[in-house]
């Protein structure tokens, strides 16, 4: 599998660490309530099809959001977390 790091370009999977779904970047407010926090920390969809992953490109330190299809394994694109959140 190959993933494009927005800084380094297309790289082999072994340079990356998978870190769950991309919604981890949407941290709830401290007072958002139990349900919101439970959702944020524990609940994940298991889609057959398009999903958004969070990957860490270890060599350069970039956190990357990857659009990926769980059925076809197609990687549709990727972007830097820092850019998305800006």
């Amino acid at each position: 599998m190959r993933i494009t790091c927005p800084y380094c370009g297309e790289r082999d999977i072994r340079e990356f660490t998978y870190r769950g779904h991309a919604l981890a970047i949407a941290r709830p407010a401290p007072d958002a309530g139990e349900a919101a926090w439970d959702d944020y920390l524990h609940l994940r969809d298991n889609p057959a099809g398009a999903t958004q992953d969070l990957w860490h490109h270890g060599p350069c330190g970039a956190w990357v959001i990857v659009d990926r299809d769980t059925v076809t394994h197609e990687v549709a694109g990727s972007k830097a977390v820092a850019e998305v959140k800006r």
Binding site: D12, P28, P30, L41, G61, W63, V75, K85
Partner: protein, 976 residues
């Protein structure tokens, strides 16, 4: 036998051994070609029935002729005689026979065949259950088998490598060569991977003309052009074994399997090839026809028989017969007759079959049986009128047609589609993104079609890469021999083999259908058809046809099983090349490593780091003696330990303080410049991630210390916070772990030692507990931190790593003057347990700040990672397992880490579990074993006695629950 061909052929010039017998061979031959040249037909015994078996094919799909190369540690089993090239001195052994190939005692299995059909093991070895592992399995394993490894580690060198290209061409027959030429001329970066040592594929095995000259001339010209092109890399002896996501391909190169003295060269190389697009020109594999006793040595694939004749000048028989349902196989008769070999008969079940040469043709006829104990002697032909006759023959060339090699198109879940005209499966369109099938792998039947589709696939692949290419002028080539009529089996009562590699017969497949294992996946597992080393390459389609017939369905309705990687076996030694010994994982060494080795200290691995365990001195015979001495040395004089392995993260920027306040539970924005503070870091789920000290070096400059184990994790965590959660903050972080060599100097004489080493004089009043700053160290700019992990007055002194070894040696020599010296990880551990300081033994991922008694460190004044979830009621329940100190009070004065705690009088079972011990040591300071652990409601039970039970080590004692700080609880020593 060798054919007497005009021109070219040289006399055999080398010899190798087969089961100890010397065999003469020509350079460039496969073992199979050399064996056939020397009239050796019997080469192995079958998997289950130990039937005599011979060479079937001339390629990597070989089901029978599996051999072991070499002897001892380097012996390589299950190699294909049809692939392995001969070299002087090669040792080849046959497999699955005892005591010898000709007299194999286990061939009694064949007599028991009526009982050993499909499902035999499932039905027979049911009871008693206790016999499964102890009796049945060992016996079955001994009887059914392949070659074996020696059991000794293979010391031969193997290699792993990466390659990148625009276009990967898999196979180099007419379609592969044509595709490669088109892409090469278009300037594309091409890799051609060919499993054989020579490029050309079937063109090397056929008598054909291209552009009016022998096909071999065209091949030679094409190869010369490709090899001369700077943008083409030809990889011969390289089999593409797997297709993976985003254009990644696995391939195995038999780098030095063909030479007598490979020297330091890798025996095999496992390649990972990344290609933007690929051409699948993997050709086709000939299939057999099932008829009674069709597995005798001498019964071969028709295409293989003429490959041996045309390519190597070897006839597999003196009197050859052909049994085939297609025109192509008639070429075998034609070519062998032309080479002067007797062609005794061609048997073609098609009533309208036509001869293409001078040989006796039986059209509308079938082969109904064979004879010959260790090799074929006769076949029985039932002619069109139904009359049987026996014909003497020592080689029967069989062809039931050709199956495109679609395997790689299935590796990403593609299912091949049935083509009725070809009576074969062909690749599904777009089965693999970027992979373009061509030639006979895609169902082409003639050389002309292969050349054309090769060019077309290359043009399509280049177009997918955004490159427009003109269609080339195609060479003129053979366009006949395409007639065929599906014909799978000759009906009969006797055993007719489908999967020779796994001894699966027509009857087995029918039995599976009859017993309702009618799905192709069930049939496969019930009969083991397709599960042998050849992975059904020779038998899948025929087995499917018979299953379809037995279940009254069509072949497409019956479906096909999935081909998975690897296409050809890949030795684990190649996949794991370089990963043994020093290659297993990087070793990280501190700057004091050599000096520590000089002192004879054994090392302990801490993550990838190597740290000294203890420093043995003369007269010390156990680690405990050294450790006890080192602990007392620190408590009474001074000790030196390398702490460079702890993570150091440099944090700078206007929002540095905000970052620290957010990732630590406690406040760092209030820390004064020149001060150090202990910090606790949580995961977002409220559990402890790591701890350590952070020093404020300037208004916007901090240095964070992490534990050795969590350095990488914490760095990643900070990256996450800054990129994903607070990208608005202006902070820059950098790992500074490797820049500094840092040494702990601890003990009542720590200052005295530092007075000698630091650029002085030092005003120690300016260095209170938890202070830090820059300082000169023996003339070098360094840093000093007054912190303690031992409970003694302690400092950590840091210098740029280039000076680490020199400073370490200096510290040790000066310490010895003061009655001090180095201490290792064992003593460090004792010192911290005596003080109740935690490590990752305690913060192991399942504990909260509350559990370790640090809930008050979660500041109420600010948010931090983990704060919200740490406040969940369940995580603040006083009845949770919480940190306590433990001391043995029972008859056994020992504690063991990992032991569990139970109430007095309670049974030591899981339901009664009260907690567990995480760290233990013998404290020479207090003269007792000490432990840290977690106990339900622990801090509320100080003074209570509980039982400690270690079921694993069989240790049991009574322990007193105490405060985890055993020594100097007021901390007077450390504050000085």
């Amino acid at each position: 036998m060798r054919l007497d061909r005009s021109g070219g052929d040289v006399a055999p010039s080398l010899s190798f051994t087969f089961d100890g017998e010397t065999v003469r061979a020509r350079k460039g031959e496969t073992v199979a070609a050399a064996l056939l040249a020397n009239d050796i037909r019997l080469v192995g015994r079958s998997f289950k029935y130990h039937r005599p078996r011979g060479i079937w094919s001339a390629g990597p799909e070989e089901p029978n002729a599996l051999i072991t190369l070499g002897r001892g540690a380097a012996q390589t089993p299950n190699q294909r005689a049809t692939v392995q090239e001969v070299y002087e001195g090669l040792e080849v052994s046959s497999q699955n026979r005892w005591p010898s190939l000709k007299t194999d005692l286990l061939s009694v299995n064949d007599l028991a065949a009526p009982f050993l059909g499909a499902g035999f093991y499932y039905k027979t070895f049911m009871w008693p259950r206790a016999f499964w592992e102890r009796v049945y399995e060992p016996v079955i394993r001994r009887a059914a088998g392949l070659g074996a490894l020696s059991g000794a580690p293979d010391q031969e060198p193997y290699e792993k490598a990466y390659a990148h290209c625009d276009l990967l061409v898999i196979g180099s027959g007419p379609s592969g060569l044509m595709a490669a030429l088109v892409a090469a001329r278009a300037g594309s970066d091409v890799i051609v991977a060919e499993q054989d040592h020579a490029l050309g594929g079937r063109l090397l095995a056929e008598v054909e003309e291209i552009d009016g000259a022998p096909a071999a001339d065209w091949v030679a010209a094409a190869v010369a052009e490709l090899e001369a092109a700077p943008n083409v890399r030809v990889m011969s002896r390289t089999t593409v074994t797997g297709v993976y996501d985003q254009g990644t391909y696995g391939a195995i190169e038999r780098t030095a399997m063909h030479v007598a003295d490979p020297g330091a060269a890798p025996r095999q190389t496992f390649w990972r090839i990344v290609a933007k697009a690929s051409i699948l020109a993997s050709g086709a594999i000939e299939r057999g026809i099932a008829f009674a006793n069709n597995d005798r040595p001498g019964v071969m694939a028709a295409g293989a028989v003429r490959a041996y004749a045309n390519r190597w000048g070897v006839s597999p028989g003196k009197s050859v017969t052909v049994f085939a349902n297609n025109d192509d196989a008639h070429r075998t008769a034609r070519d062998l007759a032309a080479a002067g070999v007797t062609v005794a008969a061609v048997i073609d079940p098609r009533a309208d079959a036509q001869a293409i040469g001078d040989y006796p043709l039986f059209s509308g006829a079938q082969v109904t049986g064979t004879t010959g104990r260790l090799g074929l002697t006769d076949i029985t032909i039932r002619d069109a009128s139904g009359k049987d006759q026996s014909v003497w023959t020592d080689c029967l060339a069989v062809s039931g047609g050709w199956n495109p090699s679609v395997h790689l198109t299935c590796h990403m879940n593609g299912r091949p589609v049935w083509n009725e005209d070809l009576a074969a499966f062909v690749p599904a369109p777009d089965a693999v993104p970027g992979l373009f099938p061509a030639g006979s792998a895609d169902g082409a039947q003639s050389t002309a079609d292969c050349l054309r589709t090769g060019a077309e696939a290359a043009i399509a692949a280049l177009e997918a890469l955004g490159q427009t290419t003109e269609a080339p002028a195609l060479p003129k080539a053979e366009n006949g021999f395409t007639g065929h009529t599906p014909f799978w089996l000759v009906p009969g009562k006797k055993r007719a083999w489908l999967d020779m590699a796994n001894d699966v017969t027509v009857k087995d497949v029918k039995l599976a259908a009859q017993e309702n294992f009618a799905s192709v996946e069930h049939m496969k597992r019930y009969t083991t058809q397709g599960m042998a080393p050849d992975q059904g390459k020779n038998s899948n389609v025929a087995a499917l046809a018979i299953l379809a017939d037995a279940t009254g369905r069509t072949i497409p309705q019956t479906g096909t099983t999935t081909f998975r990687p690897p296409f050809a076996p890949v030795p684990l030694s190649a996949m794991g090349a370089g990963a043994r010994g020093k290659g297993f994982a990087p070793e990280r060494f501190t700057t004091s490593h050599t000096a520590t080795e000089d002192l004879g200290a054994p090392f302990v691995e801490a993550g990838l780091w190597y740290r000294p365990s203890y420093y043995p001195r003369a007269g010390e015979t156990t680690w405990r003696q050294s450790c006890d001495r080192e602990v007392q040395m620190v408590r009474n004089a001074v000790g030196v330990a390398d702490v460079s392995t702890l993570g150091k993260i440099d944090i700078q920027g206007p929002d540095a303080a905000a970052l620290l306040d957010f990732v630590y539970t406690n406040m760092f924005s209030t820390l004064k410049v020149g001060k150090v503070r202990y910090g606790l870091m949580l995961r977002e789920d409220g559990h402890v991630m790591d701890d350590g000290t952070t020093a404020r070096l300037g208004e916007t400059h901090y240095v964070m210390t992490t534990t050795t184990a969590a350095a990488g994790q914490v760095m990643q965590h900070l990256d996450f916070v800054l990129q994903a959660l607070r990208p608005d903050w202006d902070v820059r972080i950098a790992s500074a772990t490797e820049q500094w060599a840092q040494f702990a100097v601890a003990g009542p004489k720590a200052r005295a030692l530092l007075d000698v080493v630091l650029d002085g004089p030092i005003d120690w009043a300016a260095w209170p507990f938890m202070s830090c700053g820059n300082i000169g160290v023996a003339g070098v700019p360094g840093r000093l931190f007054r912190i303690s992990f031992s409970g003694e007055e302690g400092f950590e002194v840091a210098v740029p790593a280039r000076y680490g070894e020199a400073l370490y040696r200096l510290l040790l020599s000066q310490a010895s003057v003061l009655g001090g010296g180095p201490y290792g990880m064992e003593a460090l551990n004792v010192l911290r347990i005596e003080k109740g300081f935690i490590t990752h033994s305690e913060i192991h991922g399942r504990v909260t700040a509350f559990d370790i008694g640090m809930e008050r460190m979660i500041s109420a004044k600010k948010d931090c990672i983990g704060k919200t979830m740490a406040a969940r009621p369940g995580l603040l329940d006083p009845a949770r397992e919480r940190l306590v100190g433990l001391k043995p009070t029972g008859a056994v004065k020992e504690l063991t880490a990992g032991a569990h705690l139970f109430n007095m009088g309670a049974e030591a079972v899981r339901l009664e579990d009260q907690g567990y011990i995480t760290s233990v040591c013998y404290s020479p300071t207090l003269g007792s074993f000490l432990g840290l652990g977690f106990l339900k409601s622990g801090p509320d039970r100080i003074g209570e006695t509980v039982q400690m039970v270690d079921h694993l080590r069989g240790v049991k004692t009574e322990v007193e629950v105490c405060n985890p700080v055993f020594f100097d609880p007021e901390g007077g020593r450390m504050r000085g």
